[in-house]
């Protein structure tokens, strides 16, 4: 059994409770024990680094210091934004011990940061530490028949210097996990475009424009649903989908799942445990495709002309 430190993040108790719950279910099946950081605090998210650099480092640093009190060598974080803040702080503190010392003075009453704990997103942990083979071995009810657009957002793979994981332009880790569950990952060009993040509240038009394009491309890919590993991406694509459809006079009807919800489905957990009731866009339509046989498009047979043209080139 593996043991790992767990940082749930604020939204785990709020908008993304279903992510938190399914992460716990999935990890149990995969023989991973998760130890939550006692009395963790908010990472500061976008707001801290927008307004105050020292605070933007100090808030995550407290969590990193608390994580070092536990005996695990890796911390995993479901929320992409928390992950980015934590990893970014870790990279900067590790590179610049003077800065770390300075920021540490704001983490009142806690010990000094040593940089002992690796920080990984839930996606990275599943892909690197658990591995596709292990995931595949736990699948009891494959979700074959579902076509899925894997949406990573900006923070799971970018910037490369911080995340040191997968491709910043066209990542494939989530696609491979989804395929291990039996589903078909569709080619999808907007994998790492930004959804508009916290502008959902501060300037909603930005999100309607950006998330609208992502939904448009996902629909065009032929997917039945989108899968994400970030609470803010989920709420922007799901909760704002109605507003987007209204503004641009379109109809997408694309449910937005968390990766771990689909993993839990494939691992045989009953549907009620996934908290699908919290989704704004109904999920049943997409789930009805499970069990369908996907016909691969036949490659067009080469006509005589084409063959001739090719041989001429040679």
């Amino acid at each position: 059994m593996k043991k790992v430190t767990y940082f749930p993040g604020c939204s785990a108790h709020g908008t993304s409770e279903e992510f938190d719950q399914t992460v716990k279910m999935v990890m149990k099946t995969l023989d991973v024990e998760m130890e939550e950081i006692p009395d963790w605090n908010c990472c500061g998210a976008t707001s801290a680094h927008t307004m105050n650099e020292s605070l933007a480092y100090a808030l995550p640093l407290r969590n990193l210091v608390l994580a070092e009190k536990l005996s695990n060598d890796t911390m995993t974080i479901p929320c992409a934004s928390c992950y980015q803040r934590m990893k970014s702080t870790k990279v900067h503190m590790d590179e610049n011990p003077e800065l770390a010392k300075k920021i540490n003075t704001a983490v009142v009453g806690e010990s000094l940061y040593e940089g002992r704990v690796a920080v990984k997103s839930m996606l990275q942990f599943c892909y690197e530490d658990i591995g596709l083979e292990n995931i595949r071995s736990k699948v009891t009810s494959p979700i074959s028949g579902m076509k899925i657009a894997c949406y990573y957002g900006c923070l799971l793979t970018r910037p490369k210097a911080i995340t040191q994981f997968d491709s910043p332009e066209y990542p494939m880790s989530m696609d491979k996990i989804v395929e291990a569950l039996g589903a078909k990952a569709m080619p999808f060009d907007f994998k790492t475009e930004c959804c508009g993040a916290s502008f959902s509240i501060s300037d909603t038009d930005v999100v309607l424009q950006l998330s609208g394009k992502i939904l448009e491309m996902a629909k065009e890919s032929g997917a039945h649903a989108i899968v994400v590993a970030c609470p803010l991406c989920q709420s922007n694509l799901d909760m704002r989908q109605g507003d987007i459809e209204k503004k641009y006079k379109v109809k997408y009807d694309l449910p937005v799942f968390y990766l771990t919800q689909l993993m839990a489905m494939a691992f045989g957990f009953p549907k009620e445990k996934m908290m699908f009731a919290k989704h704004i866009v109904p999920v049943d339509g997409a789930l009805a495709h499970i069990g369908e046989v996907i016909e691969e498009p036949k490659k067009p047979a080469k006509g005589k002309k084409a063959v001739k043209a090719e041989s001429e080139v040679e």
């Binding site: 680094h49 020292s54 407290r62 009453g109 900006c154 910037p159 300037d203 930005v206």
Partner: protein, 190 residues
């Protein structure tokens, strides 16, 4: 019309470079950042122009523009920058300098964005964690737009998407102290 005068030393450029850890002079104005950039239509000046404005020491124009407030820090631009400039860090440096020096862009959107961040940080100061519902309510009150997103409320609340309360942390006091210390560190680094 803007008149440029050569003063021998571009202190704005120096300050931005120091804060961002990048060298804005490296920018050769190819515009790849703009073509990558997802929200150009919202910005007064796209990143490429901001870069040039820093080089020309158009400090006031930079600081009063809404541009740096619209940066999503998605790092798409810097990932493709052939000069490997950390563009989001440059945008952030300009914004931090603007906050330090009390520049307040006239744009209503910037005022809203800034208010949102202040409310968010206030939630963390109070509870140690974000209280989502209260944050949204305070944003509506403080931006005098009471009915914003009210059409989502019945669905979001009934489905439990947004819970009514917050599980605040035990050592919320430590976070209050952290805020005080962080403010002191910011003062020192000026």
């Amino acid at each position: 019309m803007i008149t440029l005068s050569y003063k021998g030393k571009n202190t704005f450029l120096e300050a931005v470079n120091k804060k961002s850890g990048s060298d804005v002079l490296e920018c050769y104005q190819c515009g790849k950042c703009v073509s990558t950039f997802p929200v150009s239509n919202f910005m007064d000046f796209p990143p490429r122009e901001i870069m040039q404005m820093i080089k020309l020491e158009l400090k006031e124009e930079c600081q009063m523009a809404n541009s740096t407030w619209f940066c999503l820090t998605c790092s798409a631009c810097s990932g493709r920058c052939p000069r490997e400039i950390n563009i989001p860090a440059v945008m952030e440096a300009v914004r931090h300098l603007a906050i330090e020096e009390n520049y307040h862009p006239d744009s209503k959107q910037v005022k809203n964005i800034r208010k949102f961040h202040e409310i968010f940080l206030d939630m963390i100061k109070r509870y140690g964690r974000n209280y989502e519902l209260r944050m949204m309510a305070e944003f509506n009150i403080r931006t005098r737009n009471l009915f914003k997103d009210m059409h989502l409320a019945p669905k979001a609340l009934l489905k439990g998407k947004i819970p009514l309360g917050v599980k605040s942390m035990k050592s919320a006091k430590a976070i209050k102290k952290m805020y005080e210390m962080a403010d002191k560190l910011e003062q020192q680094s000026k």
